[in-house]
Symmetry: C2
Subunit: 439 residues, 2 copies
């Protein structure tokens, strides 16, 4: 993408409404724009990050055997009356009346609707286990939306729902999602630690939150530093096999948010030199809630003995739009964002340091074409801004690889490559640059 | 994908609420489920088609130089008061009040919001032309939603918006979208004919609808049969070049919906043996509306002489979810859907005609792995249904290539390949099957 043809409205000033760094940087980097309290438009740079995150989430759900579908944003109020949550949900639910005065709502989550879909079609244990997910916009009418996409009202969530014949099978489904989440967040370049959690309005008695460590996080976190170095399950983890050793490994090391922190156990189990007390951001949560919805909504299947039984369910959320903010909270410095490569809006940016100089323009164009031909997502800053402004913009928007092309280096056949993550610099020939970035 | 692990709730009965063939087939094939009047959940099979259509639309928008962003589904009522459309829009607009009694609405289209975004950042003609698009759910509260996804209330639309310094430049932007639309629909295997159209509530004085011919279509269509054989602009069409010859070629041949049909001109210009009078379905519409929104909403840029002028705008819609229905209307027979390969939920389906027979199971597994390794989207019917039921299901869901694997053929080293589009059959070795389908 040529920057001269891109839409990247960078702000020079720090927006005063932004209280946290991710909100400030997303506004400054031209990633998004507030359209109403807690409701954002994703500008092209932010949209690219959102899509990359969404795609990683999708691939790992698919790998774990979940099936994607797509439920609508609006739901019938009557569906929520069946589960008893219509009145219980409170003012965070956006209630809507259509032209015929039918009561609708903007879905804040989908346990009811997926249970209704399930019970319409699935009648036998032989069709289980089943895990259905979607990635769709949700709405929660927060009393005080703030922190940008970290606590918006309209937000993108991946929510999966598992259906099993009994608790043992449901726990296997739960474990599959647990492992999928470890892989999902690791692929985004994050350290996300599973922590035992309260179940809240979803219900049930088993839940884990996945918490990204960031000093600016919303909750206090206590953990054993060993948990930071546990191995992530590999690409070819066998989701049909026994996952309990992985789960045990991750849940036996102490890690808890302040809500459920057990100070006595922490001091007993964690050696003093391994105690980490920091802050974190929730980016996903998984629940096993048993028959809570299947009892209320009569989602029954015939068991092996022919008798109808309510299915055992779980639900599994990832905050897709929230992750954009969470990654920035975990990956930034004073100059701007430092995207992990897997979620970066572009992998590399070419900075033409003397636009209009035939040799420099030619070298940039050639490099741009070669990187594109290798499938690299590359941005080419071909604007007539001065070099200093190009450096600042590249640091701000956080592209992992900056390639500086100027007359001096070119005279020696060299380009300068700067890695945004650690600021390291190298002088390389154009061919070496292509090999390094596309390799 | 193994069918035994997929979620494909095929209905045996014809659903009585479905008045048209696409609605009936989408319900029967387990593609979607109605959640409220005009509001659908996309089940996994339907979701796969929706995503393939969306991706073709995206690729052709990108190719034409449009930039993708994503605006939220909910908008502030005040934004629509600026343009004067809040009151004008009528009962089709879903109006919402949040917990603080702020007036919101579920966006039926985005001219106002994109104009607000544009004016916030773009101040000079030097940043033009600009074309921004998104693919997002919209809501129109139809008095009588029907025909399934063809006239739903919650629907997925691609809408692009162009910004130019004057009418001449705006017409060039219009032409780019015109050409992109020709390519988009052709890639989906459709004959979509551009026809001069009325502008309606969007405003302006220049508009074309793109109409897919189908005998079950919603509007009458009159055209010269020559228009059916015009060449589609190629992959490498130069969007920076002069597109007027392509536009002239497509607009000089008579083609009109009954709304704007000129019987006298039709009879004068079209030889009797080339007159086609059929029906069609609108799948896209493009508009040039000049300064209608930029005047009302003060979207001004400094021109070359330093004087602020209102930008000239256009908007360009594609009914992404509607296309799923439109393609079925154009591509089906009595047995079910006949997906064009580019939008098919799976490219091929392997029918195991004797599940449990070691040789047949082994041959199916091997073929399944080989096709997957070649990147073919393949469904493997590994259920214990009898052969007749597998044939009927494969015809119903419309996968382009059916591969029949049974003991008799295998004894001779052959599989049978049936092409869904024309019913033709061939006996081929497994290696030939892979070469034919993956080739």
């Amino acid at each position: 993408m040529r920057l001269s043809r891109f839409f990247l409205p960078i702000l020079k000033e720090n927006p005063k409404e932004a209280e946290i760094v991710s909100h400030r940087l997303m506004l400054r980097a031209g990633m998004m724009r507030q359209e109403a309290a807690g409701i954002y438009a994703w500008l092209p740079l932010g949209f690219r990050v959102l899509k990359k995150i969404e795609q990683i989430v999708r691939e790992e759900q698919d790998r774990a055997g979940a099936l994607e579908l797509l439920m609508p944003t609006l739901q019938l109020a009557d569906l929520w009356r069946e589960s008893g949550r219509y009145d219980a949900y409170g003012p965070e639910m956006l209630r809507i009346s259509d032209r015929h005065k039918r009561e609708l709502l903007y879905g804040p989550t989908n346990e009811e609707m997926i249970t209704e879909i399930f019970r319409a079609y699935v009648k036998s244990y032989r069709n289980l286990p089943l895990n259905l997910y979607h990635i769709q916009w949700k709405f929660r009418d927060e009393q005080r939306p703030r922190f940008g996409v970290m606590r918006g009202r309209e937000f993108l969530m991946k929510d999966a729902y598992s259906f099993d014949i009994d608790e043992a099978a449901a726990r296997r489904s739960y474990n599959r999602m647990f492992v999928a989440y470890l892989r999902t967040f690791a692929r985004m370049g994050l350290k996300a630690i599973p922590m035992r959690a309260e179940t809240g309005p979803i219900g049930g008695d088993l839940s884990h939150e996945f918490i990204v460590l960031a000093e600016t996080g919303e909750s206090g976190v206590f953990c054993n530093s060993d948990v930071l170095n546990l191995p992530i399950p590999p690409d070819d983890v066998d989701y049909d096999g026994d996952l309990t050793p992985i789960i045990k490994q991750w849940t036996s090391v102490y890690a808890a948010t302040e809500d459920v922190h057990d100070a006595a156990r922490y001091e007993r189990e964690v050696p003093a030199d391994k105690r980490v007390n920091t802050r974190g951001i929730e980016v996903g949560q998984i629940f096993y809630f048993g028959t809570k919805y299947s009892d209320a909504m009569k989602a029954l299947v015939a068991g092996p003995n022919g008798v109808d039984v309510p299915i055992h369910g779980g639900s599994y959320g990832v905050g897709v739009s929230r992750l954009v903010g969470a990654i920035i909270e975990a990956c930034h410095d004073d100059a701007g964002i430092k995207w992990p490569e897997a979620v970066a809006p572009f992998t590399a940016v070419i900075l033409n340091l003397k636009q209009g100089d035939a040799a420099v323009d030619g070298a940039c164009e050639k490099l741009y074409r070669e990187l594109q031909a290798k499938g690299v997502d590359v941005l080419y800053d071909d604007t007539d801004q001065r070099a200093g402004a190009k450096f600042a913009a590249a640091d701000l928007i956080g592209i992992p690889w900056q390639i500086l092309v100027g007359p001096k280096g070119l005279a020696e056949g060299k380009l300068e490559v700067k890695q945004r993550s650690d600021g390291s610099r190298e002088n390389l020939s154009p061919a070496e640059v292509v090999a390094k970035i596309a390799g």
